[in-house]
Symmetry: C2
Subunit: 392 residues, 2 copies
């Protein structure tokens, strides 16, 4: 491993992480442990090299290694990065500025990285997001409630997160879009794959106006397991999960239970006790879940209206403590490279004086660096957020 | 006041209490305090006598006293007792064996006495009872759920208590009756008044197969205030209250909140969030109320199946500690007068030997007294359960 955490090393780690999204299945905790210990470059090297380094990894079996090797041999991370970039997308790694820090609560099941499409800042959006999930084969009542919650939450300034599936998920996304609100889809496949096909247009709108994210590399397809493991990302990403219609033992309840374990709020929309599609929700509400009937009740639970910083049980990041104006200026800086103060002002929609004032404030707080006339985001952590390396 | 608490004094107190049910409105806490302090005979004497005794009662005003006097002058307790007796009914006072001790939790708002019709033991039934209440103008869904809960609770051996109103109340009673189960109506009028008229037949069936009780003397009619105050009796009498469909600020929610304050369980049946008739229930479920969708879930909360003694937060009476067989023998003894051991065996449906064994056990526990061949219930407390008097 190279000493120091300069940009070159970061790029190498990024590339290795991109490759690993094709090697490690979502939620592979053993892989996540090795990744945390050795970093992506070294883990990938051990997997592909025939020097016995991988066999010595704690918990590795011959069968598992064979699977890893097969997938690693097929990995072409440069091509994947280029493919997603060609669609206007990007790859976000733990520790990077756009990385939603609350995903770290997943421990070794944290995603290796996230493939992201859409013109919004993932981290900022995730801070103020609520998941609305539920049955694919929902009733008209379920669909109505999901759309109504989606629109209501968006109107109250919250980001509506769901899985882009038929039924409740789609209705929640559409509800948010209907009021020109913020909505984000977490896919169980590559962000260039429109699944389900019938939602190609809906997903397309979100890549243009919202965010579409996923753990899986471009062109990869969903499986049953991937759907289930995708739910942990939805749960960890958001401040709380609302379940609208769910049968017993449904995927939506998996999301809700993950949310509970992670200390997030879990909520459910009641329905007729005679409806099988409400049974799962009622089960949840007889446990830790909180009954909600509209967006205001959801927001009452997950946070205060107009307050950008999360309150209560969610993780707190230094960035959350910034006021809205300063956060908008911070948000106007690109992920990479430098810009002028004038560029920042234009992007943030503020005066140049105001922008400079905020930039100096951000500078003193360590969020940005100044190089002559250029401003850029401070690379505060290495790409591999956890692995301790010499230079950082 | 006469010294000693012999039967004559008890009868005098009973008569005074019967008269007071016509003088004190349900829930009159000031009246209840005087009653506790001075006993019924003395309180009635002060109210009717012109010696200034009533004026010296703590908190009495001239206007209030005028009202009391007017009503006391119209009271004919012997006639009321005879009228109810002619219908096969009775008057039950605090401290008497059929008195449900948990009503004492109401403090000075405890009923002065209860007028009772029906062939069942009020105290024993109340021990294992659940209230099912809700909107009069309920939806077919509400009616279905109330009937289903009524039948289910009755089948699980619980007594279904409600207010005999149209809608949810009636459906709950009918559900219990449909499976030949136990059900009790608490009226806001005299127990000889069928209110609402459209439920005359339903109330009639309960006087024959169940219980119909109320605080108000025969022929007295309901008022809005009496309906609301009736709800506190339903709440106090039962182990828990289930609300099936209720608008915000409805009478059913009053019952539920009374139940909460008294430490009873409060439950609600969810419905569509789009239904105004479920809004009150959802409000309850967002607070302390527990969501229930069937009778088994209710019973899971309020007590264990097959267990006669209440568990949890309800009040515990010595009688509750008896095993089922002994309780049945105790139950076979009449409220007044003596019977032979053979009579008891016949009434309890057990062998004479068994009956004698249980009777001696009950004797040693102080529940029954023996006079030659005759057995009778011990009059453990004076009619006026709280007033301390010389002879008791």
């Amino acid at each position: 491993m190279p000493p120091g955490g300069g940009p070159a090393a970061d790029d190498e780690e990024r590339l290795a992480r991109a490759a690993l999204t094709r090697v490690l299945e979502p939620g592979d905790e053993l892989g996540g442990r090795w990744l945390r210990r050795y970093g992506a470059v070294e883990l990938l090297r051990r997997i592909t090299a025939r020097d016995g380094g991988a066999e010595r990894l704690d918990g590795m079996t011959a069968k598992r290694l064979a699977g890893y090797r097969l997938r690693a041999e097929g990995a072409e991370p440069e091509r994947d990065l280029a493919a997603v970039a060609a669609l206007g997308g990007r790859f976000v790694c733990p520790g990077e500025l756009e990385w939603p820090g609350q995903l770290d609560d997943l421990g070794d099941a944290r995603p290796t990285g996230l493939w992201v499409r859409g013109p919004r800042d993932l981290r900022l959006w995730a801070l103020r997001s609520v998941a609305v999930v539920g049955a694919r084969a929902c009733t008209p009542y379920g669909s109505h409630m999901a759309a109504s919650l989606g629109a209501g939450l968006a109107e109250l300034g919250w980001v509506v997160v769901s899985g882009a599936a038929f039924g409740v998920d789609g209705a929640a996304h559409r509800g948010a879009l209907a009021v020109n609100g913020a909505t984000m889809a977490v896919l169980a496949c590559g962000v260039d794959v429109a699944y389900p096909r019938g939602h190609a247009q809906l997903i397309g709108r979100m890549t243009e106006q919202g965010l579409v994210i996923g753990e899986l590399p471009p062109s990869d397809h969903p499986t049953r397991t991937r759907f289930i493991l995708r739910n942990r990302v939805i749960a960890a990403l958001t401040r709380g999960t609302v379940v609208v219609e769910a049968e017993r033992r449904s995927g939506s309840l998996v999301t809700a239970r993950s949310a509970q374990r992670l200390g997030r709020f879990t909520m459910g929309v009641p329905g007729p006790a005679t409806s099988g599609l409400s049974m799962g929700v009622h089960e949840l509400l007889r446990g830790e879940g909180v009954l909600v009937t509209n967006a205001a009740e959801v927001v009452e639970l997950v946070g205060e209206i107009g307050d950008l910083a999360p309150v209560g049980r969610g993780p707190v990041h230094p960035r959350d403590l910034l006021d809205a104006e300063t956060a908008r200026v911070l948000d106007a800086l690109p992920y990479r490279g430098t810009v002028t103060g004038r560029d920042v002002a234009r992007a943030a929609g503020t005066s140049t004086d105001e922008a400079f004032g905020r930039l100096y404030e951000l500078h003193s707080l360590g969020f940005v660096e100044r190089h002559g006339d250029g401003w850029q985001l401070t690379r505060r952590r290495t790409c591999n957020g956890d692995a301790r390396r010499g230079g950082t």
